[in-house]
Amino acid sequence: MADFEIRDLRASVEGKEILKGVTLAINKGEVHAVMGPNGSGKSTLSHTLMGHPGYTVDGGEVVFKGKNVLALQPDERARLGMFLAFQYPVVVPGISMTNFLRTALNAKRGYDGKDKSKQISPKEFRSMLKGELEVLHMDDSFLPRYINDGFSGGEKKRAEILQMAMLKPEIAILDETDSGLDIDSIKFVAEAVNRMRGPELGVLIITHYTRILEFIKPDYVHVLVDGRFVLSGGPEVADRLEKTGYSEWGDVEDKPEEVA
C-alpha cells in the first residue's frame, strides 16, 4: 500500500459532479504532476483533498497513515502531515505572518496554549525562518505584515512555499503554484521545493502548464480530463502535452504552452 492513496474519489460543487472517480497512489519520495485543462477538476481535487467546506465528497476515500482523511477537519489533515499551497492565497487582515507561522508551528507540535514545553522557542523559530527565507530570496520585512496583505503575486506564492518549508509536511499539494509567477519567482520556488524533495516528502503538483515541470521534474504525470485520469505515465507524458496540448481528449481548446 502506498503512503497516500486516493481511491475512486468523487466530488461535486453546488450539486454539480466534478470529480468522477480519481484514483492515485503517492509514495513519499515521489513527485506526481496532475495536469489538465480548465474545468477538468484540478482545483476541486486540491480543495477536496484538503477539506474545503465548499466541496462535497460523493464517494471514495483518501487514506494516509491508516486514516481516511476525508472524515477529518482541514486542520487535522494538516497536523497529520498534509499541506496545500494555495493557487490564490487568502488575505487575512490583522494577523501578522509571524503570528500565523508561529501559531501553525505550535499547532503542529501539539501546543494548545497550556503545555509550554511543546511551544517553539523564539530562538528556534527565528533560526528556522532565517534559513528558509534565504532559499526563497525573501527578506524578513514581510513578517510583520498581515497575512498575504498587499503581497505581489510572486510574494504570495513564495510565502506559501515558506509555510511549507516551515511546517515540513509529508504530502504536499502544490495547486497552480506557477500561475501568475515571473520566471525568477518560479526558479526560487522550484529551488525551495527541490531542496525539500527526498524520502520524507511526497509531492502532488497540480498544473495547467508544463512550465513548472521544467524546474521540478516529476516522477509521474497524470492527465485529468472531465474529472477522470485519461493518461498516466512518466515525465514523457508532460513532453507529449507540451507538443499536442489537451486536444486529443476532445473538445478542449487550450494548449499547455500558453503561459498565463
Binding site: V92, I95, A107
Partner: protein, 398 residues
C-alpha cells in the same frame, strides 16, 4: 437616596455652589417632566428601555467624589473632582459644563445632569504638554446602585495630552444604573487623545454621552471601547467648529451572551476645511445584539470638509444580530464624504486557510476576530491604553 428633589438637598450636594445646585434642580425637573423614550422615537426605535426604571437603583455611589492622585502634573494644570472644581474654578467650569449637550435632551441625560457625582475636571493651560497619560478609574462596588461620573476636559491652545476613563464593575454584580459621560473641549491647535473603556458588570444598564468640541487646527483622537453591561447606549459626538480641526473617532465593541449595545455617532462639520474620520468595529456572539447609527452632518458653510464613516460588524453566531445605519446630511456640495457599513460572519476562506495550516477552528476564529480588531487597536492613541484593551479583549475572546 431616591431620585427626588429632597436628595438634591442632601449633604452630598449641599456643599456645591448655588449655580450648580440650580442646574441640578432644573435637570431634575426635566427628568420628571420628560417621558421615557419610546420606540416611536427614531433614536430609540431599535433600543428597548421598557425594562429600565432608574428609580429601582436609586442609591448613588461615589457620593463624596473620589480624588485620584496624579503626581507630577505640570504647573497650572487643574485636575480635581468636578464638584471641587465647580467651587474653586467656577469661571472655567460654569460656562462649559453641559454646554455640548443640553440636559433635557432625554430623560436619561436629565437624570445624569441632576445627580452626576464623582467625575473629574481637567484643565490643561495653553501650550502645556503632558507626556504621561492621565488615567482615571471609575468603579461600581455593588449591584442595585447608580454610578454617574462626569468628566470635563479642557485643552488650552496648543496643549497636548492623553486621558483615559476606565469604567470598572464586577462581572457578575447585580443590575445597576451606570453612566459615564465626558465633555472634551479641544482648544485651538491642541492635540488630545481620549480613550474610554467601559467594562461594567454583565447586568448593568449603561447610558453615556461622549461629546467633543474642536476649535481651529485642533486634533482629537477619541477611542471608545465597549465591553460591559447588559444594555449599553453610547452617543459619541464631535462638533468641528474651527477650520483645520480634525476628529478621529474610533470604537470597538465585543458583545456576547445577551448583551445589547447601541451606538449613535455624530460628526458635525459646522465650518469648512474640517476633517472627521470614524471607524467603529464590533464582534458579536451568542444572542448579542448591536445597533450602530452614525450621522455625518455637513452644515451649509462647511465647504471643503472631508468626512469618513465606517461601521464593520463580525457576527460570530447565527443568533447574534448587528444593525448598521449610516446617514448623511449634507448642505454643501464642495465636500468629500465616504461612508459604509458591513455585517457578516467570519470569512470561510480565511478560516479554511488558517485551518489548512493545522490551526484548529476555534483558535483560527479567535485569531480572525483578534485580527479584525487589530487593525483598529493600532489607532489607540497611547500605549498603556492599547495594552489594557488588548489584554481585556484577549481574556474575553477566550
Amino acid at each position: 437616596m431616591p431620585f427626588n428633589s429632597q436628595t438634591l438637598e442632601e449633604p452630598t450636594f449641599r456643599g456645591e455652589p448655588d449655580w450648580l445646585r440650580d442646574r441640578r434642580r432644573n435637570a431634575f425637573a426635566a427628568y420628571e417632566r420628560l417621558p421615557m423614550p419610546s420606540r416611536t422615537d427614531e433614536e430609540w426605535r431599535r433600543t428597548d428601555v421598557t425594562g429600565l426604571d432608574p428609580s429601582t437603583y436609586a442609591k448613588l455611589e461615589h457620593a463624596n467624589g473620589y480624588k485620584q492622585e496624579m503626581p507630577g502634573l505640570p504647573a497650572g494644570v487643574i485636575f480635581e473632582p468636578l464638584s471641587v472644581a465647580a467651587v474653586k474654578h467656577r469661571q472655567l467650569v460654569e460656562p462649559l459644563l453641559f454646554s455640548t449637550g443640553h440636559p433635557d435632551r432625554d430623560r436619561f441625560s436629565a437624570l445624569h445632569a441632576a445627580f452626576f457625582t464623582g467625575g473629574n475636571f481637567l484643565y490643561v493651560p495653553d501650550g502645556v504638554v503632558i507626556e504621561e497619560p492621565i488615567l482615571r478609574q471609575h468603579f461600581s462596588h455593588e449591584g442595585g446602585t447608580t454610578v454617574l461620573p462626569h468628566t470635563v476636559i479642557v485643552a488650552g491652545r496648543g496643549s497636548r495630552f492623553y486621558y483615559l476613563d476606565e469604567y470598572i464593575g464586577e462581572e457578575e454584580e447585580g443590575a445597576g444604573y451606570r453612566s459615564g459621560s465626558a465633555e472634551i473641549f479641544v482648544g485651538e491647535g491642541a492635540d488630545v487623545g481620549y480613550v474610554s473603556i467601559q467594562k461594567w458588570g454583565r447586568h448593568a444598564w449603561h447610558l453615556a454621552d461622549q461629546r467633543a468640541r474642536l476649535e481651529k487646527d485642533s486634533r482629537l483622537r477619541l477611542f471608545n471601547v465597549t465591553l460591559g453591561g447588559r444594555f449599553s447606549k453610547s452617543r459619541v459626538e464631535a462638533s468641528l467648529v474651527g477650520p483645520g480641526a480634525s476628529a478621529e473617532l474610533k470604537g470597538i465593541y465585543f458583545a456576547s451572551g445577551k448583551q445589547f449595545f447601541d451606538f449613535h455617532t455624530l460628526q458635525d462639520h459646522q465650518v469648512g476645511n474640517t476633517t472627521s474620520d470614524l471607524l467603529f468595529k464590533g464582534a458579536l456572539q451568542d444572542t448579542a445584539k448591536t445597533v450602530y447609527a452614525g450621522l455625518i452632518r455637513i452644515e451649509k458653510g462647511a465647504a471643503r470638509s472631508d468626512a469618513y464613516q465606517a461601521n464593520r460588524n463580525l457576527v460570530l453566531s447565527d443568533h447574534a444580530k448587528a444593525t448598521s445605519i449610516p446617514m448623511l446630511e449634507i448642505d454643501n456640495n464642495d465636500v468629500r464624504c465616504t461612508h459604509g457599513a458591513t455585517v457578516g460572519p467570519v470569512d470561510p476562506q480565511s478560516l479554511f486557510y488558517l485551518q489548512s495550516r493545522g490551526i484548529p477552528a476555534t483558535t483560527a476564529k479567535r485569531m480572525i476576530v483578534q485580527g479584525f480588531f487589530g487593525e483598529v487597536l493600532e489607532r489607540i492613541p497611547f500605549e498603556q491604553a492599547r495594552r489594557l484593551v488588548e489584554t481585556e479583549l484577549e481574556a474575553r475572546l477566550g
